[in-house]
Symmetry: C2
Subunit: 248 residues, 2 copies
């Protein structure tokens, strides 16, 4: 799909086109289109920009990921379609692993995900080798298996666009879960250790920027100074303010 | 997709499954999935029920359609997937025509739409015969052609899930446009003569119910008593109140 750059909805339409391409290439599940539509709606209500509240959470996300011993970035089809290259950049900058996690798993999609991530510069992709897969509690086997070298032993997991069940499971396993989700009311956003309420295509490069900028000495303070519940409430307020603005 | 009736999101997941089926059967465009996702989001913010505000608009919609001389219901892929049978019931109860209008037109999809509507009881389906198609102003030829026996000569057009351009064109052609749209801020909702902010699967049967109940003597009063702008503002307020409720 070619959208002229001058189109007022250029960014949004380009992102939608990427998801559509991902479906056609077979690594985005068909219902990934529905999830993307929900994301479009929330992004619209958030003003289609990174709010100050989101930026604050992104800075803390960078600090948490920099402090981690074994950080892993979990990737599904929509994230790969929207920003595979940015994910690879972020992983390199954090020295984090990249792990494929498909909600609607099948072997073919997993292979395609591996290929897309490598094409975008990933040297290693976890979660694509049966030999290393282990089952996590409370989830059925298709979507409940993780890489023992990756998420299973991670202390911090970054989950862009994750579902609520998996988020809760990871938290219950004692991990620090950093979620990126445009819906501040979702179970993922509500249950994560740290919730970034922003579009992944903006959040991922922002977290990378902050991870490059943050001083080692600042990290602990940045983390301690942050209140996730308070920040989430602030995001909901921003949505309400945008509704007022949009309804004028 | 089989969703157990006890599932808390049964209605929503069933609707999503119908759209997915429509894509697989070839009459719903792939991006119809994205539009449906946006709808899910707004429905969620509306509380996934018909609000009093929506019900008021549905009663007026019934009155406007009963008063019409040549009412036409415009149908796209998503509407056919979600509630083809309810549309046919409504058309019969109003003595209205049904016209196929595809945003992403192609001949094959048009044929499938015709088949789906007939399978659900439609005796006649307009907008599927090249011989009667005429071009309307300001729209490109693929999505700017209507049936001269249907929408072209209609005084009232019911457009469930319509895009802003087409809504504006129909209004500019002097027609009374009744829109069903879950986004009270959309151009469609803002430009229509009458805006029903509700899920089509609830709005269509509700309009039918009101068309059966309304007394001939009431019709003019019901229409005159209604202020669409005020009602739209009320819908936006309901969304804000739901945000408060959901964020508790």
């Amino acid at each position: 799909m070619e959208v002229p750059k001058s189109h007022p909805r250029y960014e949004s339409l380009t992102q939608r086109g990427k998801i559509e391409e991902g479906v056609k290439e077979g690594y985005v599940a068909l219902v990934g289109m529905v999830a993307h539509g929900r994301g479009e709606c929330f992004d619209y209500l958030m003003g289609e920009k990174t709010t100050n509240t989101a930026e604050k959470a992104e800075r803390v996300a960078a600090a948490v990921l920099l402090k981690a011993k074994n950080p892993v970035i979990s990737i599904n089809g929509n994230v790969a379609a929207l920003c595979a290259r940015e994910v690879v950049y972020l992983a390199k900058s954090l020295n984090a692993k990249i792990e494929v996690n498909l909600f609607y798993w099948d072997e073919e999609r997993e292979k395609r995900m591996d290929a897309i991530l490598r094409k975008n510069g990933a040297d290693e992709v976890y979660g694509t080798n049966e030999e290393f897969k282990v089952k996590v509690p409370n989830l059925d086997s298709k979507r409940g298996r993780v890489d023992e070298r990756g998420i299973y032993n991670a202390d911090v997991v970054l989950v862009p666009l994750e579902d609520g069940d998996r988020t809760e499971t990871l938290v219950a396993m004692g991990k620090t879960v950093v979620a990126i989700d445009l819906n501040p009311l979702s179970r993922t956003a509500q249950k994560a250790s740290l919730s970034v309420i922003d579009n992944v295509t903006r959040a991922i490069p922002n977290i990378r920027k902050f991870s490059d900028e943050l001083d080692k000495g600042e990290i602990d303070y940045v983390i301690e100074d942050f209140n996730n519940k308070k920040n989430l409430k602030e995001s909901i307020n921003e949505m309400k303010n945008n509704l007022d603005r949009l309804s004028l």
